[in-house]
Symmetry: C5
Subunit: 99 residues, 5 copies
């Protein structure tokens, strides 16, 4: 999985019918300090994540292993909202402290 | 999924029989301002997208999760035409405004 | 799918038994002008492509969606020989004209 | 598979229900001398690996081929803790010797 | 598939039970002249390849399409030992001649 920050949304009214109802989020990968790095990806939202939140997303066929994305042409899904992460015993991010 | 712009088409008369009838689009990835970045990919068209339109495409096994691409040797599919996208609450692109 | 040019072949007599009879092609990716770019990949041949031809190849599980590659440890397949491609309404390559 | 070092953990209380109970590890890839290189990935833990250990992780659909990750939206899994590795007959790392 | 050279091995005694008996090889990708390029990957061995041999490896779900790797958390497999390869009609490598 990749650690990322929700930056925005993409709207499409003309799409593969199976995608009806899915929300598409714009994500930017972050480094271990939580800073966004270059590039972005668009992922389906399986957990009602909001703009500004840190999340994990999964790609490939694993992106279809949620109730919302099952059997859909979707190759990236936000499957967890992050509370905190630590590196070598030190917290790098705690939700609520920085937000 | 990846945000891209339809740039052109590829034609093949000699191909795996299962691919008969699929249209192949040349896509270039775009940045959050809608500008094309380096490189391109060829994707099957599941939504009748036209040259110049912004689209989302899915890759890998997820590219076979549309009626048109099911069980075909296709690893990228355009599965949505984009109406608009926004980043941190600000519209970066609205269809019809710039097109 | 990726646009590439067939550059050569790889021969293996000692391999996974299921691969018996498959031909392995050396491919180099090309840019939209048909010029080879850095790097190469080895793909199974599903369409009897020859050295010098422009082709499309598919990767991942989609590479197993041909009669020849079904259920084989093969992650890239040439599934189409390219006749022509165009970008924004202009032909960039037509088979027979340049070959 | 990729050779990596366990650097930390990610905690999420709000996630896809199927992920309940999975531990998420922060991994950094290492070179053949065991030094971490740039970038990191988050992987599910199938083998109770600890911070500081060298491990192998598998990605894609193969990351779901463990008892803990089966049918879950998980695209990377730590599936082995490394005892040692050697390159051209010379040990580059032996567990216990350097730890 | 990717053309690579077998450089060494990785040993793990604590791993996902399904991996018992699989041998892990360290591979480095090579260019068309057979010279190793940067980076390496760890792959399961399906063909009893030895250190110093040129091989092809497959990644992703295709890496599970061998008798030894079926349904295992393995995302790369050596599925062929290379005898020779040629580019535009010229042999770049012949086994036995250079080894």
């Amino acid at each position: 999985m990749i650690l990322a920050k929700v930056m925005g949304t993409v709207v499409s009214s003309h799409k593969e019918p199976r995608l009806e109802g899915l929300k598409f989020l714009i994500l930017q990968n972050v480094d271990l300090d939580g800073q966004t790095t270059g590039g972005f990806v668009v992922a389906a939202d399986a957990v009602d994540a909001g703009v500004g939140e840190y999340v994990l997303y999964a790609t490939g066929s694993s992106a279809r292993q949620t109730t919302r994305t099952d059997q859909k042409p979707c190759d990236a899904v936000v499957m967890a909202i992050v509370d905190n992460w630590e590196v070598q015993g030190e917290f790098k991010y705690k939700k609520g402290k920085d937000d």
